[in-house]
């Protein structure tokens, strides 16, 4: 029996569709400003940390709606520590990176131990970290620097987490008629990714058909591939366009030089999202996380080590926080005491809006990405419309609430409260008549 139906597909992708509609809305409202290459690029570039922290937060939330409030403060602390190692103590970059990672592992292990084995409620254990690390980071920065910020990071450090690669003139190409520069590697990456996605879509279907399993119809796989490919190609095209144009003197003549390239952050994002996408969807590790969140007792009696799963969730979160700290620090080429403020809330909101269950047991990387992007789009769109920050916050809060209500009501199916209220109301009306 084939259970494929368009209704189910739409139901499953309701958030993606909402994102698309909202994006179009803001593009129209800003007279296309949303869709310029610099705005498209900054939507991803600026919010890279949300996606990375979101991946970690997703793993925590899967185990039963548990969150990590210490993310923002620890990110600030990790940045400060990286600065101390790299800038103040002149430790070479590979070693200082290893040391910061070590700090992350130690904190993650302690936190994981407290939560999983001492059974301290996660929000309390991480609330302690939220308070302590902000203070600790500020103290460190004040002690080592008069401006209470560490800058002058070594170039090699910065290049690992920010900037662009493949920026040499040989990789650039100009469409003379449009006066448009494009970075060739960006386009190549986009084309390769599109090809990969299409190939995976079709080969998965072919495998299923070969083994006689239920598979989506060919036309649907084709449409899906076209949509996904189009999104990737548009993004890569926008990134290819992005870059400064400078005029340099070469051999006595002034030459227009375009500095396009593949943003390092994008590569990090692709790597992290792919890894965590695979972990959650395709491995027993992901299955264990989901089961602990779905029903902890069942998980225990099925031979899953619940405590180890909880421990791993928070260890993992701290490691990803270190990565996000390095990316954020490199982006501003400075570690300061205000870094990472409210980042934990951004990550939690991304998960919630992205359909990750607030009670654990279900959620996906793709959902989290859509959630993070949706919030990013609202943020950027309203800012471009020059709407006051306070109103942006109000709207974001309402979106978050709506997402949770939607998730819970849609799960309740038959006995959802709105339905019964409406039914009662209409019954009363009828009776009055």
């Amino acid at each position: 029996m084939n259970t494929f139906s368009i209704k189910n597909v739409l139901k499953k992708n309701v958030m993606a569709i909402a994102l698309f509609v909202i994006y179009i809305f803001f593009t129209i409202m800003t007279q296309g400003m949303m869709f310029t290459s610099s705005n498209v690029a900054s939507l991803i570039d600026q919010k890279a940390y949300v996606y990375i922290l979101g991946a970690g937060m997703l793993m925590c939330m899967l185990t039963g709606g548990n969150i990590d409030l210490s993310v923002g403060s620890f990110l600030c602390f990790a940045g400060a520590v990286a600065g101390v190692f790299s800038v103040i103590w002149y430790i070479n970059t590979p070693l200082s990176l290893l040391l910061v990672l070590g700090v992350g592992l130690v904190y993650g292990a302690v936190l994981g131990f407290l939560i999983a084995y001492v059974r301290i409620p996660p929000w309390i254990a991480t609330l302690a970290g939220y308070l302590a690390f902000r203070g600790l980071a500020t103290q460190i920065l004040v002690k080592v620097s008069e401006t209470s910020a560490i800058s002058n990071f070594p170039e090699e450090f910065l290049h690992l987490f920010s900037g662009k690669i493949l920026t040499a003139p040989v990789f650039q190409f100009k469409i003379e008629s449009l006066l448009m520069w494009l970075n060739i590697p960006c386009l190549v990456l986009g084309v390769l990714a599109t090809a990969a996605v299409t190939f995976i879509n079709f080969s998965t279907r072919a495998k299923k058909v070969k083994k006689g399993y239920e598979a989506d119809p060919t036309w649907f796989v084709a449409v899906k591939s076209v949509i996904e490919g189009a999104i990737i190609l548009v993004l890569s095209f926008k990134f290819a366009q992005e870059g400064d144009i400078a005029f340099e003197e070469i051999n006595g003549s002034t030459v227009e030089v375009f500095k396009g390239g593949i943003p390092v952050v994008v590569l990090w994002l692709i790597a992290i999202l792919l890894i965590y996408g695979i972990i959650t969807e395709k491995t027993t590790i992901g299955r264990h996380f989901m089961t602990v969140g779905g029903n902890a007792e069942t998980a225990k009696l099925s031979g899953i080590n619940n405590k180890l799963v909880m421990f791993a969730a928070y260890l993992n979160m701290s490691v990803l926080t270190v990565l996000a700290a390095l990316i954020v620090t490199a982006r501003f080429s400075s570690a300061n005491a205000f870094a990472g403020q409210n980042f934990e809330m951004d990550a939690i909101a991304a998960c919630i809006v992205g359909g990750v269950s607030a009670y654990g047991g279900s959620g996906s990387i793709m959902g989290m990405v859509i959630g993070a992007t949706l919030i990013g789009v609202i943020d950027q769109g309203m800012s471009l419309m020059q709407i006051d920050q306070d109103w942006i916050k109000i709207v974001k809060g309402l979106v978050l609430l709506a997402a949770v209500v939607f998730e819970i009501v849609s799960k309740q199916g038959g006995n959802n409260p709105f339905k019964s209220i409406i039914e009662k109301f209409s019954k009363n009306k009828k009776q009055k008549k």
């Binding site: 259970t3 491995t283 027993t284 989901m290 089961t291 029903n295 069942t298 225990k300 031979g303």
Partner: protein
Amino acid sequence: MAKVLLEMKSITKTFPGVKALDNVNLKVEEGEIHALVGENGAGKSTLMNVLSGIYPIGTYEGDIVYDGEVCEFHNIKDSEKKGIVIIHQELALIPYMTIGENMFLGNEQGKKWCIDWNKTYAEADKYLEMVGLTDSSKTLIKDIGTGKQQLVEIAKALAKNARLLILDEPTSSLNETDSRALLDLMKKLQKEQGMTMIIISHKLNEVSYVADKITVVRDGSTIETMNSKDEEISEARIIKGMVGREITDRFPKRHDVPIGDVMMEVKNWTVFHPEFAERKVVDDVSINVRSGEVVGIYGLMGAGRTELAMSIFGRSYGIGISGKLFLRGKEVTLKSPKKAIAAGLAYVTEDRKGNGLVLSNSIKTNTTLANLKAISTATFIDKDKEYQVADEYKQKLRTKTPSVEQLVGNLSGGNQQKVLLAKWMFADPDVLILDEPTRGIDVGAKYEIYCIINDLAKAGKSVIMISSELPEVIGMSDRIYIMNQAKIVGEMKASDATQENIMSCIVGVGGESEGSEA
């Protein structure tokens, strides 16, 4: 003749797929202690839930006539207003509140917006004295034992001006002395205050000690009411009423299944309660099971059957576990469910929603959960293989569902049970412990589950089937252990077993304790 305080007239209550109560009639006179007895699932608790408004008017058929008028209870508050108070088996007290606070929870003393604590504690002390408790009402609940907690529950009910007190298994978590004290209190309340009480109990010796009248409930109907004034009610007499059911061919036969060597053996197994560390929930139990054999463990709820099973299965229940466990003659120590599964054990829980399945997940993921290794390489799950496995079991066990992608939460009880069985069959164990495998599922599905059990035995597996349904235990087992009050009180071949001699094993324990016979 005394005035009739309560009359329940032809009460019928249906749950999806199951008729829990079928035309039940119950008459309780003022000032009497009326006992309801029957097997698990006979419908006693359902009947009391109807009476107390937990199942509101409209969800059942029939009338409740109380104090001369027909009542319509929409919730517990309605019935409490009339003086009908139910004390559940699971105590509903909050450990970190004082006795006084607990007693007046939802019934706070003083003005609407301000609790009068002096009045609260004074009143509380008054009622505590009535039930013979000398502790101060300012003591925290967690600091008094379960026996006293049960008394607090009664005091709480008195504080609500109860006229009809319903006690659901009040002594199930009490020791001998506390139980006797409670029963004496019931008699005292009856004598001094003319309180009317309904007691639900499995302990027949207690019932015959305390009750004026005994009504037997069986398969959702009231069978008979015995009056202690008219006749001497012996326990045997009650059992006759409770059982009275013939075993027909509701059980598929196993032909020519060779019974092999001892597969698993448990010796001198003792387990203590995880919260009340002084309470033994399994007491010096020794049992064994052979390959190809179906061993039944019969016992009423609270006898320690589930505790025994779970403590064997990787110590997933209890503390201070002592005793030896042998698999194929070799002693093993299984410290976690993971190790138990690896050693070839499977525990199919009685509580499939609570700790057996993940309701929000698909049939597919539930089926493979206990043996993910078999469908994955280096942690990568082969989803095609997973689908194949789940579909195979779906067909083998005839699970009724359009697709294995269906969420388990959407299935009927019988089909959920099949998914649970599939999960543990896929784990490929040598020993399966089935805890109440047919609880809450309809007759047709039961038969299918029995066939699956037979197939397992045919495949040379050892099956331990825990059940509180006598016909099921007798009809399905090769050998039967009888468990009561944490001990094994009897062992017999199924061919020798009758409902009467099994029940008399349980009654025989009454006061004096027998050692395990295994």
